[in-house]
Amino acid sequence: MPFQAWAIPWLGNELPRAVVGYLFAVACYFTVGASLLMVVLEHRAQREGNQFLLSFLQDWSRFILLMTTVLGLVLAAGAWLVAAVTEPAAVFVLTRVLFWVWGILWVLAGLALCSGLLHYSGWGAVAPGHHLVVGWVMAGCAWGSLFVVNGILAFLLDPGAWLETGRLLDGFFNATFNPSLLVHAGLALGIGGLFTLVAGAETDPPRLRSVLVRTASWFALAGFTLAPVGEAWQVAVMPPAAREALFGPSGHGPGVFAIGPALAILIVAFLATGPLVRTAVTPRPLAFLLLLLGLAAAGVSGWSREAARAPWVISGYLQVNGLGPREANAARVEGFLRRARYARSRTTANAAAGEPASAGQELFRFQCGCCHTTTGVRGLRRIVQGWDVETIDHQLGRLEKLRGVMPAFAGTDAERRALARWLASLAVPKGGKP
């Protein structure tokens, strides 16, 4: 393991990654969905000569531009920056394995960004026909980016034949690709539609409002109908281990997963009985409420996908602790600390002179620190409270069975014992400090 390990105190590494990842996903869904909706509306406005609608879209494109650049682009950079210091092994491997795919994604996203800038600056300055073409290029490239991102996420969940053949396309277009695409396309249409619904509700004149509310509602309705269908399909075709991680006794259970489809059904019901039939009287608070529900649905969908993959970054190939199955097996025979280049302690004999850090602490830093803290989020002090060394050692030896979302401990028996001793030392004795 040729990387340093650093952890964000108290918060841990997983929560900041999840927050940045979620916000980035929302920005992407918005950009993809709203850009398509905008260009559809622009096409209609040009055909009908609807100046009110064109004027609205000119304003609206500013918001899309700001969301895409200020939020989307910065969070794209942010996602890489956070991952680089919290999950270095995964970042390194993903960079090399998916190098050309990242390149394709960069080209498509860059095209979407450039055409977005040209589209925004071209209102009233570029001939309408050309302006519309620029809009279609923007929307097309944004959807192309979604297609590639979907392939990456599907690959991480189920690399399929890639593990044998080494051909990336074998893993890219696996069984989960199509259902996953349905989920992401649905959420993009849904989030894009709901944001536009918020902007369009209570807009004047009423005829403009009616067009906006109706079109945005149809987008959102289509999106939140497709997304749960894709979720169910994805669960049906995902590898059994992923299903086990999601629904099994050691996983997170079906309850949380069901929240996503339930929210989607709620949104569809609201849209079908509200904005779609009474386009002129859709109050903005209702539109906001629907948007919040949609954002929650997107969050649950992302959470379920990550939960299904646990404890893997690339299923069957790379675990969250930065080790592959072969490395983990080698660590069990030779010792993890001997193989970890950046470990400060090389042996479990902590008392030996010259050992700067305890072996147990180093094992925690490299194997547990990717998801756990000592006293904060997922704090192990709280978890091991009341446990003795034997109990902790017993748990560590069966992590993958007792907690299916965790990787098995990768180290010798002596190392496991050292980690158990160090974890036990975290526990607060009754009425005192540790």
């Binding site: 650049t69 080209v107 498509l108 095209l111 050309h130």
Partner: protein
């Protein structure tokens, strides 16, 4: 799982030579908007201050022009930073990531700094006095929205100047972190196994390279920004806006010339600050001639720019200077690449593993890139062509 090498052994996605070549090309391309993003806010503030003093009304217009274009430069700078970053990760992942862990807090601080930098640049650019009903209203308080919608052609106003300062400070912060990271990467003793458990604050503050590198980057950004303004001035003058064009041209040439002259001094300081073996390895043979090429081209570019400022028809001289700037930038980036390679040469495990060609995805990338370049050319042609006709 027999076909794919393990995570720790996964080879490069192409030969090291191809990846280094790509890294050089993309680093050169990325340096342009990154320099503009850092330099233009400075030039905006100075142009606004000088113009407000009454000396040059054209400079207030220039300040507005710069403010309008800064967000595009910032966006392009971030977008174009991805390829060199990815290539650096693929080639030198251990060094890049372990150095980032040593200074993790500052590394993470780049995210809020980018938010401030991008957000404030858009704020200034989109300002327009007199708010009107807008689609932003549902998402923003009125007072915020009125500023975002406010933009005046004749200057950036006090609020705009204040926000430009915020933008500048934020982007300077980002620049500082990235330069410090670059210095740290070249110091394996500070991030390698002997460096100890990272606390996230491991800045190479005592490294003799840090200050000259910071100065070199900042002065380079100002020089390129000044040159872009000079180009704009020559372009406007040729379009018939003689007074404004000439003012912008002179303003740009002054900044370009002064910043380049100081940058050359910083370059000498930087070379002298390199550790002995690194300096020797990096500047021996072909690298030495690259360094002289960079210096010579920079001097030629400044000379041509000064001639342009005095010439009746400045465009041809500015075009010549642009070629010299490009040569200087390419040579300078190649020298920096060699310095880094020399600094990391002694690390046994950083040696690059032979590439595992991924022909399918690489071909797809080439096809998409070619199509993308064609599409960008079409978009620029379509929008600029119809802008004139419409």
């Amino acid at each position: 799982m027999s076909g794919v090498p393990g995570p720790g052994l996964f080879p490069l996605p192409a030969s090291p030579g191809v990846l280094r070549g790509l890294e050089l090309a993309m680093a050169v391309v990325a340096a342009v908007p990154a320099s503009l993003a850092l330099g233009w806010p400075v030039l905006t503030l100075v142009a606004e201050a000088v113009g407000r003093g009454g000396a040059e009304i054209s400079l207030r217009r220039l300040a507005a022009w710069l403010a309008r274009r800064t967000p595009g430069a910032v966006v392009l700078a971030i977008g174009l930073a991805f390829p060199p970053f990815l290539l650096g990760l693929a080639l030198y992942g251990e060094a890049v990531l372990s150095a980032a862990a040593q200074m993790a807090w500052l590394w993470l601080a780049v995210i809020p700094l980018l938010f401030l930098g991008v957000g404030s640049s858009f704020w200034v650019a989109l300002r327009r006095r007199g708010a009107e009903p807008s689609t932003l209203r549902p998402f923003l308080p009125d007072v915020v929205e009125s500023y975002i919608l406010a933009f005046r052609r004749r200057g950036i106003e006090r609020a705009g100047a204040a926000v430009t300062v915020l933008c500048l400070v934020s982007l300077l912060g980002v620049g500082f972190v990235l330069v410090a990271h670059g210095v740290l990467v070249a110091r394996p003793d500070l991030w390698g196994p002997v460096a100890g458990i990272p606390d996230g604050w491991g800045l190479p503050l005592r490294d003799p390279q840090l200050l000259p590198r910071l100065l070199f980057a900042l002065l380079g950004a100002l020089a390129l920004s000044g040159f872009a303004v000079a180009w704009h001035g020559a372009d406007r003058e040729a379009a018939g806006e003689a007074a404004y064009g000439r003012a912008a041209l002179r303003f740009g040439v002054v900044w370009f010339g002064a910043a380049t002259a100081l940058e050359l001094l910083a370059a000498v300081w930087l070379v002298l600050s390199l550790p002995g073996p690194v300096g020797k390895a990096a500047l021996a043979g072909g690298a030495g001639s690259l360094l002289w090429t960079a210096l010579g081209a920079a001097v030629a570019a400044v000379t041509l720019a000064v001639v342009a400022a005095a010439a009746e028809e400045p465009r041809q001289y500015v075009l010549g200077a642009a070629v010299a700037v490009a040569v200087s930038l390419i040579a300078e980036t190649a020298v920096r690449q060699r310095i880094r390679d020399a600094a990391l040469a002694g690390i046994p495990d950083i040696a690059l593993r032979a590439g595992m060609l991924q022909p399918g995805s690489m071909m797809l990338f080439i096809v998409v890139s070619v199509l993308g370049a064609g599409l960008v050319a079409y978009l620029l042609w379509a929008t600029s062509g119809s802008r004139r006709a419409f």
